[in-house]
Structures are given as structure tokens and as C-alpha cells.
Amino acid sequence: MVQMPLVWPEKCNGCGLCVGVCPNNALVLKGNIITVVETDTCDWCTVCEAVCPTRAIACPYEIVVEGE
């Protein structure tokens, strides 16, 4: 399964900032609410999370130690 940013539609105010900044067209507005389009090209740049004024998008990281 492709890992994509997490969204909370109930927090989305439909501003569309994330759609505009996503370099991989992984986000669209449907009915003025953010929706993630599953794509292999999402490179976890986290810009969508950075621009979201309502924290409706999150790009969480798993932190691991190499070899453990």
C-alpha cells in the first residue's frame, strides 16, 4: 500500500493551499474538502503539512536506528 499524508477532513477549511503547493498532484479538493490521491510519486516533502492553516494534514515519520 502506498503511504500517503494523513488528512482530517473535518478540520479542512477548503482553502486549497496544499493542493497548490503539492509538487506531485497528490491532493485535490472534492466538495471543498481536501482528499488524498494515492500516488507513488509522493516523496514526503511535507510542504502540504507546513502550509495547512488548520492542521488538517499530517506527514508523520517513523524514527528508526539503522541495523536495529
Binding site: Q3, L6, W8, D43, W44, T46, E49, A50, R55, A58, C59, P60, Y61, E62, I63, V64, V65, E66, E68
Partner: protein
């Protein structure tokens, strides 16, 4: 043995308590679940219960008037939340949110008093738990006062990578900023700098620590 009993048996709050006593304590517990992002407790609201994390990870945080967040703890299974108001009767000192699916066990304030009266050993255990909490908060004050952002981030990465139980939290850059007491932009820049220095490698949604010693040096 039921889930509650197994949980109590291994919980520091109830260390050294005999099984029949644990059984009576387990009858006073209630279960609560929360989904990812769900608010469990709100700062300044009346405190109704002491909670224990049974599974998942819970973020405990304070929010400033302008909406800035400071994470105080990331609680993993076995750890408790809302200890202070459960004992002093004040409001929730911080908010709590589920970082993923979470199962909690709760004990209502009134029931907690009954447990402490009937099982004095629990009171001794509580002082140990609260003492560790004080140590953690003093360490946080020290980090925020004296350490540079890079050092704080190095410490966060080391601490949050260490749990091999599968309850390792997934943290956003915003979460790390709230833990380090800085802006999200600083975390982005610091992660990049650590990658340039060869201490970590960013692999999509994984931060791989490639030079643990270098991070430990920065975190000192």
C-alpha cells in the same frame, strides 16, 4: 487472567500488590478507546479520572494563547496521564491527544481515593511515579533553557527511536517542534543539516539514524 489484571500486574502504580488485591482494584477500572487525533483530555477542564495507556501512544501538551503547542510527554503503554489533578482535585493541567489508535484504562477520582486508603502500598508506588515525572519535567526545563535546537532534536530522535515494542510514535515535524519548543521551520532545517552531516537519512516517511554516536554527542 483478564486484560485488566495482566495490565495491573505489570504497572508501576501497582507493583508489589497481591493478585487478590489487584482483582478488587481491576473492578474499579473502566476502558476507553480513542482514534488517531482524538482529544482525550482538554487543558483546564475538570479532571474526572486517572488514565493509563494500555496500547498506543498519547501526546500530552500545553497550548499557548496564540495556539503554539509544547509537548510535555509522549506516553506509551503502562504510563499514566492526569496524575496531578487525579490527586489534587484541580483541573487538567494539560491536554492529551491520541497519536494513533489508543486503548486506555481509567480510574475515577473517588475510586482512586478508595484504592489508596485500602492499599497503602499503592500510595508508595504513586510517589515513585510522580517523582519520575518531576525528574522528566526538570530535564525538559533544562533542555529548553540550555540546549540548542539541534541538540534538542538529536535527543528527541534518540528517545523516540528506542522503543522496540511496536508502540514507537510516528511524529510529524510539527510534533518534533512542539517537543523541542521551537518552530516547525527550525526542525525542517535541522533535519536537513543532520542529514548533510551523515547523522540521519531521510527515507520518505522514515528517519533512519545512521550515526547514533553523533546524535548522542549533540544531545549532551
Amino acid at each position: 487472567m483478564g486484560d485488566e489484571m495482566e495490565f495491573l500486574r505489570t504497572n508501576p502504580y501497582f507493583s508489589g500488590i497481591a493478585l487478590p488485591e489487584l482483582d478488587s482494584i481491576s473492578k474499579l477500572m473502566f476502558k476507553r478507546t480513542a482514534g488517531r487525533g482524538e482529544t482525550i483530555l482538554l487543558e483546564d477542564e475538570p479532571a474526572e479520572a486517572l488514565f493509563f495507556v494500555a496500547s498506543g501512544v498519547v501526546k500530552v501538551f500545553k497550548t499557548s494563547a496564540d495556539g503554539k503547542e509544547q509537548i510535555l510527554y509522549l506516553l506509551r503503554p503502562g504510563e499514566s496521564l492526569n496524575d496531578a489533578p487525579a490527586f489534587d482535585g484541580g483541573p487538567n493541567p494539560a491536554s492529551a491527544q491520541a497519536l494513533g489508535p489508543v486503548v486506555l484504562y481509567g480510574i475515577k477520582r473517588g475510586d482512586l481515593e478508595v484504592i489508596l486508603r485500602e492499599h497503602p502500598k499503592v500510595a508508595l508506588n504513586v510517589t515513585r511515579v510522580l517523582s519520575q515525572r518531576v525528574r522528566h519535567l526538570m530535564s525538559l526545563v533544562e533542555d529548553l533553557s540550555f540546549k540548542h535546537v539541534m541538540g534538542r532534536l538529536a535527543k528527541i530522535l534518540l528517545e523516540q527511536s528506542g522503543d522496540k515494542t511496536g508502540n514507537r510514535p510516528w511524529l510529524t515535524q510539527q510534533d518534533m517542534a512542539a517537543m523541542a519548543g521551537t518552530a516547525r521551520e527550525m526542525i525542517g532545517r535541522s533535519l536537513k543539516a543532520l542529514e548533510d552531516d551523515g547523522a540521519i537519512r531521510l527515507e520518505g516517511r522514515r528517519i533512519v539514524i545512521t550515526d547514533k554516536k553523533a546524535l548522542e554527542e549533540l544531545a549532551r
